[in-house]
């Protein structure tokens, strides 16, 4: 079966800085694929390249059914949730979800409203349709962003740091939502995170980026990597060990 996302010999960076050199990986259909690594290693930048917001220095990114991701005036083919949610602050939650549907489909208003209600119920936000993003908590904002990303029934969704900055209960709820979408809809998920609990709970496959070597230093099942990796950097990451001596 052809991969959902295929990356070949990718080098990315900004200005004169290279963040990742000659990286290759595949994301299979129905996978929950986690891109992880310490702060500043280029996880979020890699995600921006995968969704076509930035052009790579070299290499190739291919998404099944789309090819090279390009963001041009057309209906979205995959969903994206940004770290802060990035809901349009001047619109209500319902309007945020309906926004692209109204633009890219010829559905009557009632049909759009029905889809919006269904998507918000899916993410557990049926009561928040008329609220403005500023009136929502961090977790609710992220779930609303997932509802917006799901508006076009994509079979692939990209999530940037879904549980960052959330309380443990909201983070767990979001993990459950990701698992449910993956299990029940067969949605392929590519997510960037460094939250260990999230990685072990939802991640099926992962790649780990390293800032110093600017490369992928580990790939595979996160649970197995934690137990079996020979690489000290990988072991330290998965076991929350520090590389500096303790003072106290």
């Amino acid at each position: 079966m052809k991969s959902m996302v295929s990356v070949r010999g990718l080098s990315i960076g900004y200005g004169k800085t290279t963040l990742l050199r000659d990286a290759s990986f595949e994301v299979e259909r129905g996978d929950i694929f986690v891109i992880l690594g310490g702060s500043g290693c280029g996880k979020s930048t890699l995600l921006r390249h995968l969704i076509g917001l930035e052009a790579p220095i070299s290499g190739e990114i291919s998404i099944a059914g789309i090819g090279t991701p390009r963001l041009e005036g057309a209906a979205p083919r995959f969903g994206v949730m940004f770290q802060s949610g990035a809901l349009f602050s001047s619109m209500t939650v319902g309007e945020n979800v309906a926004f692209a549907l109204q633009e890219w489909t010829h559905l009557p208003e009632e049909a759009v409203a029905a889809i919006v209600r269904a998507k918000l119920t899916l993410v557990g936000l049926s009561d928040a349709e008329g609220k403005l993003p500023a009136e929502l908590s961090g977790g609710m904002r992220k779930r609303a962003a997932i509802a917006r990303a799901m508006a076009f029934e994509p079979n692939l969704i990209f999530l940037d740091e879904p549980s960052a900055g959330l309380d443990p209960v909201s983070a767990a709820e979001l993990d459950e939502l990701i698992l449910a979408l993956n299990r029940n809809l067969g949605l392929t998920v590519v997510m960037v995170t460094h939250e260990l609990e999230s990685i072990f709970k939802v991640g099926k496959h992962c790649i780990m980026l390293d800032r110093d070597t600017r490369s992928i230093i580990a790939r595979g099942d996160p649970q197995q990597l934690r137990k079996q990796s020979d690489d000290e950097r990988v072991r330290r990451f998965f076991n929350r060990e520090t590389s500096v001596p303790q003072w106290q």
């Binding site: 921006r48 969704i51 917001l53 963001l71 041009e72 005036g73 057309a74 209906a75 979205p76 969903g79 994206v80 940004f82 770290q83 802060s84 990035a86 809901l87 349009f88 602050s89 926004f99 692209a100 633009e103 890219w104 962003a145 917006r148 990303a149 003072w247 106290q248």
Partner: protein, 389 residues
């Protein structure tokens, strides 16, 4: 703590801890610190440190003895660590010795064992030529970005003309309402006062030469050709230009612009063209209103100060102001408004770096717009002059 005491502490005049220096040998000194040393005592501590640093000639080692210290906080410990770093840079050994377990914990936490380097980052001076060169490159980069934006905007406008349905009409309406209807009162008031002041200032001069009636020519031509469009554009720059830059800048830094792109919307046709179209459409209406109230302001002064009846003023105005004066003012106003939208949106979409970036770009947008308005005005004057208009 009384105010005087706080003031003395802040100035380093009052010292509540003890600092005793003793020479243990010809080349070694010991500093015995004692008492409570907290952030309130930092100024006095820094003063003593500076004094000591100026008297280290010939010394090879300094011991800072902490056994009498009952309490020291992080800020004062940081000053002591800096003292040690400065001494070591001058090839003088320095150690913190003794101290209660509580004090030792603070010493260890702040790098007392010498694990953390506290050397000050040295800033290399930049020569005047390099500064001028750097600034020139920045300006050139800004111009390049502006031209790139203009080129992409022209291409997007052609796209929108080919597919008019893709235009975000909602934002056109919103812009006309916010920048037009909401701005009308302030535009009217300012232009009325401009007409009023201009007539008032010139009344005395014209009266001396028995040419009072020409106040109608002065106010009419100035308002329609020059001040109506310019003052209106300046108000729109302050209200809408700053608002566009801040709004788009905030959208950019909160990833809303990226989110728009992932939903299939391109920022230029979706965010910029509607705002530009909105401003260009409302410019002639606002400028006409500005001309009218400016002339009314002038007529009021003429009537009150120069005894010129409104009818005489109007008759004189008709012979003074030509249709071309009004039309050139309207064209000017539209071009000014297009420039305001273009620059403010370009600056907004170029925002990086959070709240500070939004503030910087908003300021930059307003300054660039004001400069561009004056430049365009000068260009218009020359070009229209060449065509005899």
């Amino acid at each position: 703590m009384v105010f005087d005491e706080r003031l003395s502490l802040a100035a380093g005049m009052l010292q509540r801890f003890s600092w005793e220096r003793a020479e243990t040998s010809a080349t070694n000194a010991r500093i015995e610190l004692g008492g409570r040393i907290t952030i309130d005592d930092a100024a006095a501590l820094w003063k003593r440190i500076s004094e000591t640093l100026s008297q280290v000639e010939g010394l090879q080692g300094v011991e800072v003895e902490l056994s009498q210290v009952t309490l020291i906080d992080g800020a004062c410990m940081a000053l002591l660590v800096q003292f040690r770093t400065d001494l070591r840079e001058r090839k003088v050994r320095c150690e913190f010795v003794a101290g209660s377990p509580e004090v030792r914990r603070i010493v260890d936490l702040y790098g007392g064992r010498g694990k953390i380097r506290h050397a000050r980052a040295k800033r290399r001076p930049v020569s005047a030529i390099a500064q001028v060169g750097g600034a020139t490159l920045n300006v050139l980069a800004e111009i390049e970005q502006g031209l790139d934006f203009l080129g992409r905007l022209v291409a997007s406008t052609l796209d929108v003309l080919r597919h008019p349905k893709s235009l975000n009409l909602r934002d056109v309406g919103l812009t006309i309402e916010r920048a037009g209807a909401d701005a009308a009162p302030i535009v009217l008031l300012i232009n009325f006062l401009i007409g009023f002041v201009m007539a008032y200032q010139s009344a005395g001069q014209l009266e001396q030469f028995g040419a009072s009636i020409y106040v109608a020519d002065l106010v009419g031509v100035s308002m329609t050709r020059e001040l109506g469009p310019l003052m209106t554009a300046i108000v729109i720059c302050g209200r809408s230009g700053a608002a566009f830059a801040a709004e788009l800048g905030t959208m950019k830094v909160s990833e809303e612009v990226d989110a728009l792109r992932t939903l299939g919307f391109l920022p230029l046709p979706f965010l910029v063209i509607p705002r530009m179209l909105g401003l260009v459409l409302l410019a002639p209406i606002l400028v006409l209103m500005a001309d009218a109230v400016g002339i009314v302001g002038g007529a009021l002064v003429a009537s009150l100060r120069l005894d010129i009846t409104p009818t005489s003023f109007l008759i004189q105005l008709q012979s003074a102001v030509k249709t071309s004066d009004i039309v050139s003012g309207l064209i000017k106003g539209s071009v000014f408004c297009a420039a305001i939208a273009l620059i403010s949106c370009q600056q907004g979409l170029a925002t990086t770096g959070g709240a500070e970036g939004v503030g910087r770009r908003t300021t930059s947008a307003v300054v660039t717009i004001l400069f561009t308005l004056i430049l365009l005005d000068a260009l218009f004057t020359v070009v229209l002059g060449v065509f005899g208009l």
